[in-house]
């Protein structure tokens, strides 16, 4: 039996790349940046952007090829100021908004497409944050969609722009293209073989940021890393995309796959031990903390990707990384009150998804 992952898993590099993202930062000319703007000004920005973006995928430029709004799904405009804390956290856990945005208290809103592959944050650090997400490695597709939205919004709003510095952003590190291209990769084998530091050093030399599961300020929970560009000035959008999709991502993917191959060949017992302990725990635990769940999911995902766990779907494991987060459990089961209730619900959700034992 082949130990290589199935071809569908290699499609989009899903054995290593969980998801990818393209984000654009823009500001509306004539208003102070968000940090400096008064609440009435922020409300005015919100209304201006909302009116310009409209309420469906066509008006925001996502389905440019189709004529008329009939074919386009409606966007959900969510006002964060009136949203309960748990729901704000839910948006953050789904990577649709940043933590800062979820926790703030000033006028702000997010538009989300029904498939959750697009979100538009208004009044985060910048007036406008366009975000396109895709599962697996589909950077070019995400990039095209983000550019279409930029063109649509840029045709109706005056974005703050400077001849020398390009798109102006609240933080000078985002000027120029205002673009972040990033991938969420699962580098479990590189962690086991102690090569993760090498990856981080190489990334630094290439002006890349390496962050944890939830982006800025988060640790790398369970070996998931977000790798994204830091340079946004003196480079073109298309050039960055080529560098990322054509060079960086393939290199990281190849490096992790090689580490997996080495583990299978030379340290199979160690690998099997971690993978089988992980799956046993997730199938049997009655109380499961988030850190432990993410750690074991990481080992199990590695096992599933190298063919040690036939019958365990990698997509199920990917879904569980989101479903086992706190707000998701609490949304699925409103009866959860205590920390222990949450741990029990997390264990139950994992057991149900992976096959309960005994």
């Amino acid at each position: 039996m082949s130990n290589l992952p199935g071809s569908d898993l290699l499609n989009g590099d899903r054995d290593v790349v969980m998801s990818c993202r393209v984000r654009l930062a823009r500001n509306v000319a004539g208003f102070p940046f968000v940090g400096r703007a008064t609440h009435p000004q922020r409300r005015e920005v919100l209304e201006t952007v909302r009116a310009a973006a409209g309420s469906d995928e066509a008006s925001v430029g996502l389905v440019g090829g189709r004529v008329g709004a009939d074919a386009a799904e409606r966007l959900a405009w969510i006002d964060l100021t009136s949203l309960p804390k748990r729901d704000r956290q839910l948006l953050w856990e789904r990577h649709l908004v940043s933590k800062q945005f979820a926790e703030g208290d000033s006028p702000r809103a997010v538009a989300v497409s029904p498939d959750e592959r697009f979100s538009l944050m208004v009044n985060e650090e910048d007036h406008v944050r366009i975000q396109v997400l895709r599962s697996g490695n589909a950077l070019r597709d995400a990039f095209d969609a983000a550019m279409r939205v930029d063109a649509a919004l840029g045709g109706r709003l005056d974005f703050a722009f400077h001849q020398r510095w390009g798109y102006l952003t609240a933080c000078p590190t985002n000027v120029g293209c205002g673009i972040r291209i990033g991938v969420m990769v699962h580098l479990r084998a590189l962690r086991v073989t102690n090569e993760i530091e090498k990856v981080k050093r190489a990334a630094k030399e290439l002006h890349l940021a390496v962050r944890g599961f939830h982006g800025e300020g988060s640790d790398a929970t369970g070996d998931w890393f977000q790798i994204s560009n830091q340079r946004t000035l003196g480079v073109t959008e298309a050039g960055l995309l080529e560098e990322f999709a054509g060079r960086i991502v393939p290199a990281v993917v190849a490096y992790e796959r090689e580490a997996r191959r080495v583990l299978m060949e030379r340290q199979r017992t160690l690998l099997e031990d971690r993978v089988f302990r992980g799956i046993s725990l997730l199938r049997s635990a009655r109380l499961l903390g988030l850190d432990e769940a993410m750690k074991q999911l990481s080992s199990v995902r590695l096992g599933a990707c190298v063919g040690l766990l036939p019958g365990v779907s990698v997509d199920t494991l990917t879904r569980l990384t989101i479903q086992l987060q706190s707000a998701h459990l609490r949304a699925a089961d409103p009866a959860i009150e205590t920390e222990e209730d949450e741990k029990a619900a997390r264990a139950r959700t994992a057991r149900t998804a992976l096959g309960e034992w005994p």
């Binding site: 004539g30 940046f33 940090g35 649509a152 045709g155 109706r156 974005f159 340079r231």
Partner: protein, 173 residues
């Protein structure tokens, strides 16, 4: 030697806290009695642990001039240094000499944008130039007491401002 008597800003009691701050370029003196100082969240010596006193000293230092400010939004250089964020588009010009090296360092030595420009950039530049011209005319009209002409100009300026200019925002792409 006793300090000269100075009443509290809020009551006739003697002030025990004296602070000088510069706000928007204006020097402001604050004198508070013990009670009003506490109400303002300032603790008296002997009540506060040493690290808090040191913190207050740092704040007194911070009340000194906050460096140049952006003429457009009032964001000070101190604000930029502490938050890492600029206040508005004009801050890029107001703090050009400090911001430019920061940008170049952050972007591996790059000195200018080579990527795309917004769809409406040219349009916006033309409008900004027209706006400047109308503002100059408005000033002249007011000083010449041509109020009817000034009112016309004001309407035109209002139409040109970005918020009002988003009038076509409902149109489909």
């Amino acid at each position: 030697m006793a300090a000269p008597f100075r009443p509290c800003d809020h009551c006739p009691k003697p002030a025990v806290v004296h602070n000088t701050a510069i706000v928007n370029g204006q020097m402001t003196e604050v004198h508070l009695c013990e009670e009003h100082a506490q109400a303002a969240g300032i603790q008296m010596p002997g009540q506060a642990p040493i690290h808090q006193l040191l913190g207050q000293l740092a704040q007194v230092g911070a009340a000194r001039p906050r460096g140049p400010s952006c003429p457009e939004c009032g964001h000070s250089f101190h604000d930029f240094k502490t938050s890492g964020l600029l206040g508005c588009a004009a801050c890029y010009e107001a703090f050009a000499s400090t911001v430019a090296p920061v940008i170049e360092r952050a972007h591996g030595g790059a000195t200018e944008h080579v990527g795309s420009a917004p769809t409406r950039a040219d349009d916006a530049r033309q409008r900004a130039a027209l706006l400047q011209k109308l503002l100059r005319e408005l000033e002249q009209a007011i000083s010449a007491e041509q109020y009817e002409h000034a009112a016309d100009l004001r309407d035109k300026i209002k139409d040109l401002r970005p918020t009002a200019a988003a009038g076509d925002k409902d149109g489909a792409p």
